[in-house]
Amino acid sequence: MLFFDLGKVPGQQSMLVFHALARLGIEALVAVSPKSPLASIGYFQDAQQEVDLQYCREAGIPFMRREVGGGATYLDENQIFYQLIWKKDNPRFPKAIHEIYPWFSEAPVETYRTFGIQAEFRAVNDIITSSGRKIAGEGGGNIGDSMVFVGGILLDFDYQAMSKILKVPDEKFRDKVYKTMEENLTTMKRELGTLPPREEVVNVLKERFEKRVGKLMPASLTPEILEKMKQLESWMTSEEFLLKKTPRIQGGVKIREGVEVFYGLHKAKGGLIRTAEEISEGRIEDITISGDFTFYPKEGLMGLEESLEKTPLKKEKIIERVETFYEEEKVESPGVESEDFAQTILNPIMDSK
């Protein structure tokens, strides 16, 4: 198997390379970082619904639809992407998706451990630290007659930049996404207190992958590969491909497996209710409530938010918490009932299922 250590390349090239290798049936491991920031969306995502295209244009951040699943993500030079490409009938490698992820994730997991970070694989496709924070997300797909497994080592991560590229309903929601990411997503720099040298990380990653895939032979991109990348670039950066309508319905923003931020919107008799809610393992972890309804006393709203923390996502449980809070705190909200809050919170979650 070949090994392409590409270093830092122009943003879109870092993604085009694995699409090209897969189509050409070239089995390889690629280690690459985008020289300049890039937004990447999953194959089934609707770019206009999920990426703030105007912001991206103004900030000079190109975006790209990848032929791999998952959601929108922000890529920059502080992430080392590993892209493994193999022929789908290669008998040496697992074929079932539930086996592919843990099998190949051993290499990045061991890489993190080599640097002193106690990482482990968590189904379906995350790598987490011992404190449960995500430190790598992975994805894959069948492209041409090849299979592709991709992921990224997070040397560092720009949470602010990531939250800015997302299309969000309002700034409160953006802030919630940012805070939830900061709490649930970590990096080598955060864990170690220092940024490890890129080359050292790449070398360890290569060695660990070799234990799985056999000897990796250093290689350079050939004219054939470069030509294929060029061909793909014109298609993959065309408006037809980038802005194509997809069946994907915008749900929440997934931070890691089990943690998602949702935007709730519901028109009650007494006015519009909005929520930015962090859902963790089936419970409300944190919630911000706003809107144009009347709430007496106004300060009580923060108390309501706090009282809803840790509430299971069950209509009757939410109603019970809201009613208990109203009774205890003697608050009032004309035309807005406990059921309205339950609906606002649960609607986006139901829609995403």
């Binding site: 699943g69 998952g70 379906v124 319905i249």
Partner: protein, 140 residues
């Protein structure tokens, strides 16, 4: 019939890409088989191409996503795509819930019904084939 814990209803035709076919008048309905949907896990999206698309038996014509993995959907027959299951746009998980019923995927107007001969119907043949698939891909 149940093969190794997976449902393979009799009367359907099965291809080696893990899709089934059912004849309905002059059309063929297709979907994913029980083994494949279980192996895929929770299916989140299916690409629904426009009706009228020309399909070739055994060739992929759209994609499907589960667990951040983007897989392919292969045509069980050559012909014209005449209907897609619109319900899958909102709830692709119907394939997991009822792969032979509400989770049907596409309807094809075949060019040649003789292509059904390329598909498996014999329980013994199916059983033998699935055993090999399980040996290679595992069970879930």
């Amino acid at each position: 019939m149940n093969i190794e814990g997976y449902e393979f209803p009799e009367g359907l035709y099965y291809d080696k890409n893990h899709f089934w076919a059912r004849v309905e008048g002059d059309l063929v309905v297709m979907g994913m088989n029980d083994y494949a949907q279980k192996m895929a896990g929770s299916i989140v999206y299916v690409g629904l191409p426009p009706e009228g698309k020309k399909l070739v038996q055994g060739k992929s014509f759209t994609k499907i996503e589960s667990g951040k993995w983007l897989g392919k959907v292969f045509a069980v027959m050559s012909g014209e795509l005449v209907a897609v299951n619109e319900e899958l746009e909102k709830k692709a998980k119907l394939i997991n819930e009822d792969c032979y019923g509400k989770g049907w995927m596409f309807k094809i107007k075949p060019d040649n019904m003789d292509e059904l001969k390329n598909l498996m119907t014999d329980p013994a043949v199916l059983q033998e084939w699935l055993k090999v698939e399980i040996a290679e891909h595992g069970k879930k």
